[in-house]
Every structure is written in structure tokens, then in C-alpha cells.
């Protein structure tokens, strides 16, 4: 049993970790752009905002499995294959990126308008306001948002297992569903639950620890 669970767990952790990193790299700037380019933002660009907003909505409307299949060619281009844990990171990151953008957007929007106005009143540039005021002030909320993202990607990664992505989801389906080894399926699901609980617990702890408000 353990020799099945441990490698699958490692695969899931590997997949989730890199997908989180890449989806943040893609989604975080999009979230920041959404906030600063909207009407009344510190870098008002209505057209750019509308394009970004529309694209994110379209991407988020795709069912994850469909998006993953659609992105197979891209996986092949980047990692050379479409099956396996590493290949799955590509669609996972891209699927999660628009979600990340929305999460980051809503966290940044919570920042008190007054401190942004203060930044403008002392002649801060747009990048200075973003990096020295907006992001530090939103930090606790951003951490909660990133936690939410990780939990979501764990869920996605389990689904990705069904189409050859590997990890705990794959294990649960292959052994539990196809070979009727219910015990392995139960253990795999329990491990996923523990993983989600652990991530959420750590995220909550960290966010409340750094929040000085």
C-alpha cells in the first residue's frame, strides 16, 4: 500500500507545487493589471481592462478537462509529451491562472483607497504604489487567496490524474475504480483530504500571523 501511496503523493505535491508557482506567475500580474487599469484605478486603461476581463471570463468558463485536452499541443511543445506529471503542469497552470487573477484582484481591491491616495499625494510612481503600498497592504488577504488557489489546484490535479496525469487522483481511479481496490481508493482520498486540510491550516495560520490590522 505505502509503496503505491508515497510515489503518488510525491507526484501530486510536485504537480501542485509547480502549477501553483506557474499559475501565480501568470495570474498575479493579470490580477494587478485588472486593479490598476479599471475605471478609477491608478493606471486607467479602459480598453486593456475590457480585453483582460473578457479573456479571463472566457478561460474560466471552460470545464477543466476540456481545457486540458485543448492544451495538449502546448504541453507537447513545452515538455515534449502530453502524458505524465510534468506534462500536466502546463494545462494545470494555465487553467488556474485566470482563477488566480480573480483572487488577486479581489484581494488588492480590499486595500483602503486612502493609502493609495496617500501614495499619489507624495508623488509615488505607479510601480512604487503597486510594490510598496498595494501588495504589502493586501498581504494577509493575498496569502488567503494563494491558499485557496493551492486547494483548488489539488482538486484539479486529482482530475488531471484521470487523463494520465499521475498523482493521487490517478491512483484512486486506477486502483479504486478500475480494479475495485476500494481500500486504496479510500486511502488516496483520505491523503488528498489531509493535504487540503494541511494547506488550509497553514495558510490561515500564516495570514493571521502577519496581519497587523
Amino acid at each position: 500500500m505505502l509503496e503505491l501511496i508515497i510515489p503518488s503523493l510525491l507526484q501530486t505535491v510536485y504537480m501542485v507545487f509547480f502549477s501553483t508557482v506557474f499559475s501565480l506567475l501568470l495570474g498575479f500580474p493579470m490580477g494587478v493589471l485588472l486593479v490598476i487599469t479599471e475605471k478609477g484605478g491608478i493606471w486607467e486603461k479602459p480598453t486593456l481592462y475590457r480585453i483582460l476581463d473578457g479573456t479571463i471570463n472566457v478561460l474560466r468558463s471552460f470545464p477543466f478537462l476540456i481545457l486540458m485536452v485543448l492544451l495538449f499541443p502546448l504541453s507537447r511543445l513545452i515538455v515534449g509529451k502530453t502524458i505524465g506529471t510534468t506534462a500536466t503542469i502546463v494545462p494545470l497552470s494555465i487553467a488556474a491562472a485566470p482563477f488566480v487573477a480573480r483572487v488577486i484582484e479581489s484581494s488588492l481591491k480590499e486595500v483602503d483607497k486612502g493609502v493609495i491616495e496617500f501614495g499619489q499625494s507624495i508623488g509615488a510612481t505607479v510601480p512604487q504604489i503597486i510594490f510598496k503600498i498595494l501588495i504589502p497592504e493586501a498581504m494577509p488577504s493575498l496569502i488567503m487567496g494563494i491558499t485557496l488557489t493551492i486547494v483548488n489546484i489539488i482538486g484539479y490535479s486529482a482530475m488531471a490524474g484521470a487523463i494520465g496525469g499521475g498523482g493521487l487522483g490517478d491512483l484512486a481511479i486506477r486502483y479504486g475504480l478500475y480494479r475495485f481496490q476500494t481500500d486504496i481508493m479510500v486511502v488516496a482520498v483520505v491523503v488528498i483530504i489531509l493535504l487540503v486540510q494541511g494547506v488550509q491550516f497553514l495558510g490561515n495560520k500564516l495570514a493571521s500571523k502577519i496581519n497587523k490590522k
Binding site: S121, G123, K212
Partner: protein, 334 residues
């Protein structure tokens, strides 16, 4: 120092234009504490926010230190804003940063080194009296302390002008006084020009040299504070002064300026309803000139006071005062 010429600001609401300020002109001298008072919606906040172009003026010019603010591009404007600090009603401190970090922020943004920042922040902490709160977060500070942090932060880059947008409106009267004293000290010691937006006449009275009274986006009166309290020209000014407690008004009655004896009469209960003043005039053959007064209804009885000038021969005035005292009226010579 600050010259505002025919400034107007319209807020677009669909196709409609709502004029928040209309054709405002004023001149503020270097080192002056200039008040702008008005009820909410009078346009005073919009006016002060036009000065550093947080709000873009629709028409008119703002000339600060010889530079036309309205002609600056974004880059020049940012550079100029470093000379024009601002404090706010709700302090606008960064909640996730300590007192020290809040004050250090403008210095950091200006590109100073860590050592220089440290020296300057400690200097400022000392100046506003918050040395012991260096590592506290805003949530651990009182309103007055938060405004002190905001003031220290505003002073960090040695500005020439301080704009105060209702900076004491969220504070209790005692804290307000201490913040006003600090602002006065800043003007006296550092030579800043201060523009104070407020709806509190007490603030104007306590620290302003001159004041503009705004109503419906227009300035209805510009006056020195002294003159304003003695001879307000506009109805709005009179209403503001009337809202002050009368013992505050008394401070503006200078007894030396009157020929006769200036006294304060305090009375309560039945006395408040008797025609005592007219008795005194008839009985003692002196003139009584009423300078200020008020009667308030307290529970079921009334209490009040009058400030009067008694003009006549000394012994007659003395006799009149004795008479008043016999009537259970408190007589106090100012």
C-alpha cells in the same frame, strides 16, 4: 506662495456637469496657516485636492511658488508633490506597517539610504513625541497618535506646504487641541505654509491666520480670523460663529477697547426673566451697552449671562454693581 486663479471643477455625471467649485480665487502667503471652512458639500475638499492635483481642475490656474501646477506633466507633477505634503481625516496609514515603517516609506520612495532613513525617522519620531511607539502598528495607536504618525510621515521629505484635509475631524476635542498645537509648532519652527480644510470653527479660531468661507462651491468671504470674529461679513460666517459656545466669543471682547467698565453678569432662575438691565438704567442713570449674551434653558430653570459695558460716573457704576449683586446676580469685571 499659493495663488489660485478662477478655479472651477466640474464632476461629469453622464452628460451633466456638477460644479463642485466655481470660480474660486485666493492667495495664500508663505508661512501662513490658512483655513477653508464650509459645511460638507461646500467644495472645500475638492479645492484642497485640486491644489496638488489629486483632483484635476476643470478651469483656472494654480500657481505654487511661481510654478503653474496645471501646466505640469505627470512626471513634473510627481516631483512637485514631494514639496506638498498632505494629511487626511482618516490618517491613511499603512495598516501592515509599524510607525517607523510608515514614516520611512516616503524616504524609501525618494531613494534615501538605510542610514539616512534611520536618522531622519528617529528625528521625526522625536519631533512628534512618539519615540516609544516606534514599533507599534496603527491598530495599536489612538486617533491622536495615528495623526501624529501621519504628520511625521508628511514632514519626512521636508515639504514646503502642508495640506490638511479635515485632519482633526475624527478626533475628540482634547486631541484636536494637541494636534493643532503640533501644526502650529510646525509652522513656527519649520516655516511651512499650512492649508487647513475644516468644518469646525474651533479649528479656525485656534490656529488659522486667515480663513476663506465656502458655500456651494464659492468663496463667500475671505477674512483674517480676528476680523471674522469681530465683524463677520457673510451670513455663513455669522452662522459658524453663532455655533461656537459664547464663552469662546468672549475671548474676542477686549475690555481695553471700551470706555466704560466691561462686566459679565451671570444669572439664573427667576432673575433671567426680570427686566434687570432696564431697572439699572433707570435707577442709576447710567448707559448699558450689551456686547454679548445668551440664555439657555436648563431643565426647568433658565441660566444665562450677559456681557455689558457700563458707561457713567464711577460711583454710579459701583452702586449699580452692588444693586445687581443684591439681586443674586454674579458680577464679574472683565
Amino acid at each position: 506662495m499659493i495663488e489660485v486663479q478662477n478655479l472651477s471643477k466640474c464632476f461629469q455625471n453622464g452628460n451633466e456637469c456638477i460644479w463642485a467649485i466655481k470660480n474660486v480665487s485666493l492667495h495664500i502667503n508663505r508661512g501662513e496657516i490658512f483655513g477653508v471652512i464650509g459645511l460638507s458639500g461646500a467644495g472645500k475638499s475638492t479645492l484642497i485636492r485640486c491644489l496638488n492635483r489629486l483632483e484635476e481642475p476643470t478651469e483656472g490656474k494654480i500657481i505654487i511658488d511661481g510654478v503653474d501646477m496645471t501646466s505640469l506633466d505627470k512626471r513634473e507633477l510627481r516631483a512637485r508633490r514631494k514639496d506638498i505634503a498632505m494629511i487626511f481625516q482618516h490618517f491613511n496609514l499603512l495598516a501592515q506597517k509599524t510607525t517607523y515603517e510608515n514614516i520611512a516609506l516616503p524616504l524609501e520612495l525618494a531613494g534615501l539610504g538605510r542610514k539616512e532613513i534611520d536618522t531622519r525617522v528617529n528625528e521625526l519620531l522625536e519631533y512628534v513625541g512618539l519615540k516609544d511607539k516606534k514599533n507599534a502598528y496603527p491598530s495599536q495607536l489612538s486617533g491622536g497618535q495615528k495623526q501624529r504618525v501621519a504628520i511625521a510621515r508628511a514632514l519626512a521629505n521636508n515639504p514646503k506646504i502642508l495640506l490638511s484635509d479635515e485632519a482633526t475631524s475624527a478626533l475628540d476635542p482634547k486631541t484636536t487641541k494637541s494636534i493643532l498645537e503640533l501644526l502650529k509648532r510646525i509652522r513656527d519652527e519649520l516655516g511651512l505654509t499650512i492649508v487647513m480644510i475644516t468644518h469646525q470653527i474651533e479649528v479656525v479660531k485656534d490656529i488659522c491666520d486667515r480663513v476663506a468661507i465656502m458655500e456651494n462651491g464659492e468663496i463667500v468671504e475671505i477674512n483674517t480670523v480676528k476680523e471674522l470674529f469681530r465683524r463677520p461679513k457673510s451670513k455663513t460666517a455669522r452662522a459658524f460663529i453663532g455655533s461656537l459656545k459664547s464663552d469662546v466669543q468672549e475671548e474676542f471682547i477686549i475690555s481695553e477697547e471700551f470706555k466704560g467698565k466691561v462686566v459679565r453678569l451671570s444669572f439664573w432662575g427667576e432673575n433671567a426673566k426680570k427686566p434687570i438691565v432696564s431697572h439699572v438704567i433707570k435707577q442709576f442713570n447710567i448707559d448699558v451697552n450689551i456686547l454679548s449674551g445668551n440664555i439657555s434653558q436648563l431643565m426647568s430653570t433658565s441660566a444665562g449671562h450677559l456681557i455689558v459695558e457700563l458707561v457713567g460716573e464711577d460711583e454710579k457704576i459701583q452702586a449699580a454693581m452692588d444693586y445687581l449683586r443684591n439681586q443674586d446676580i454674579e458680577v464679574e469685571v472683565i
